[in-house]
Symmetry: D2
């Protein structure tokens, strides 16, 4: 599932892409944060269960404030931000990571919204991109997590007033992430009360 | 704050220890899981905020199922378990970690409840102990996390029918963890809309 | 490259597998540790460069003491061991990891050599398997690392007197690891003295 | 031990600071990289052993190219660099880390040498600082590692033509790191052939 939120458009929809098997969830209507709140807790619970059961989740840009991302991270996911048409340069800092496949040293975006540290997230399992911003900030822009059997990738860029999602390298990163986050075929984990696999001394004595 | 739950005792209290500045929270009354549910969401929200603001949190044994731990982890924190008076041996796997100070190669407990993998938690920032159980299971028994400015240590042993908390090495680990989890003196992070620290080309042109 | 060492066989060879593109390096001749020493430093240097440039490396069993693994880890890679025909159970502790694809809760090996903690390695980037041994020890049995652009997987089992490499699940893990460790297509990193990407105040003033 | 290299001074010495118990190792004489080569392999071996046995190691600035750091990391520790009197801003990205105690959101240095990614190091156990550079680069500037029982902190700033080490916040970070890297009192690890801690079925049958 790819999760993003648009702050300017006034529709809300969930689109199934039959070819990829991926579902794009766009939550919007005049303010990303407002839209996040409109997603019901029940849906968040169901997506949370699906992620833990193995469904990949790609969280884009202001999706950092979505209920599902905050629930999975266990933190506020708060950050600094500024809309000032400034330059962003995303540096690859995990040079062998499959999400960076086909990407050069960095991706340059002429104009983007700034997101700056502190970004209140758990330390990522893998830090793939770090952004440089013209205004003086840095940001952990590409972060992977595993929660349960599910793989999660947070990717920073994508403000809706800039043509970021038409950038070929940005699209390549998202495609790479979709492949990376594909579920791993494994049985569901077993929990709860379990018999011993080996003989216990306490039982033999009894 | 040290968080544990007792399943047999019938009191519930929060004890301030003036000498240490630590507050021990014991939630109980005939079933740890029941007791967890009795902690109100409002209290969980307040503890969550305090942890992110820097308060250390030590979660013991069945505290893995407390609302606050699950909220901070973002996962179910589910696991396997068995009460069968079996031997546990906690091996140190982070030999330089301050939480293992003064501990030998392993801690042996003649009788404990078994907790087994899968343990549905995020991969710990640092894995300090791994338990071996007589019945054939292993468990990630000592796990550190940082969330916001707060440090969290989960420590597995401590079933209420065994004298685990009288074991000198177990007590040493908990003392070490309290020191390790002490808050770091830093200003609260700044979030939200921020002015640039450097001149922006877009602004100069305007 | 898959690196293992055999202590009983008396040949030493490097086998190219044309179908997979993988090269199996077996170093042997009556004692794994002796054989490791026979690998020249020059070859180790060349393999090291290739790994940093992106070549995957799978290190099996006593390959923990190979020169190349010790050089990549930066530690002694020392451990405890015992040959006593004892049971090993490898528990999956990263349930979503592609190296664990198709594997159940654990892999059981009726007879194996014991390797026990402390295992003097850097904390793995990802810990995929933890072994339980009949004799009372645990071991971090499946460890991933990235060094430069290269992915490394250390996998514990494989003593030459047991039929471990005929076990279907063990073979599956190794196949999974080969896929996981495949090089990521990226340009070689640029190092050294570099011109600024942005105008510098110090230069403008000059 | 604090390890730095000076490229302009012409002395080489090892200074014991009796009050702190720390030893400052400065390797120099007209070119940091030349000086690194002058440190004998035998001394590197001895320092390596001491670090694995628990001695803290603080590596400053061009110490990234010291033999001991490269040996501990297992990689080239190569990076980009530029001397152009440009601004550096070190952002705290691990807000609860003891090495960041007393430090605000960032440390600003008016003029420094630039070090840029890719920095060919293992992913740090903890990433404490990320630098922003005026010329458009970012850098993982504060990195912690544990190797054996020893704690290692790499800290980027400190070019010898700038007054960096007179900066109070930089000094505070180094002091914090010295405390953080203090050895943990634990017995030396046991390796090699070991008897079982539990009765083995194979032995009972025999």
């Amino acid at each position: 599932m790819i999760w993003r939120s648009d702050t300017r458009r006034s529709t809300k929809k969930s689109t199934a892409s039959p070819s990829s098997g991926w579902r794009i969830r766009t939550s919007s209507s005049g303010g990303g944060h407002k839209a996040h709140r409109e997603v019901s807790d029940e849906i968040v619970e169901r997506v949370h269960k699906r992620v833990l059961a193995g469904m990949g989740l790609i969280v884009l840009h202001s999706g950092h404030f979505s209920k599902i991302f905050k629930k999975l991270m266990g933190t506020t996911c708060n950050l600094k931000w500024r809309e000032a048409d400034e330059k962003e340069r995303l540096w690859v800092v995990s040079p062998g990571h499959p999400i960076a496949e086909g990407i050069g040293e960095y991706i340059e975006l002429e104009q983007e919204e700034m997101y700056g540290e502190s970004f209140e997230i758990p330390a990522p399992d893998e830090l793939v991109f770090v952004s440089w911003f013209e205004g003086g900030e840095v940001f952990r822009s590409g972060c992977t997590y595993t929660r349960g059997q599910g793989k999660i990738f947070y990717f920073r860029p994508g403000h809706e007033t800039y043509p970021t999602y038409y950038n070929e390298e940005i699209r390549k990163v998202i495609r790479n992430a979709v492949h990376w986050a594909a579920p791993t075929g494994r049985p569901a984990p077993l929990f709860g009360n379990r018999k011993p696999l080996e003989p216990l001394k306490s039982r033999q004595e009894a």
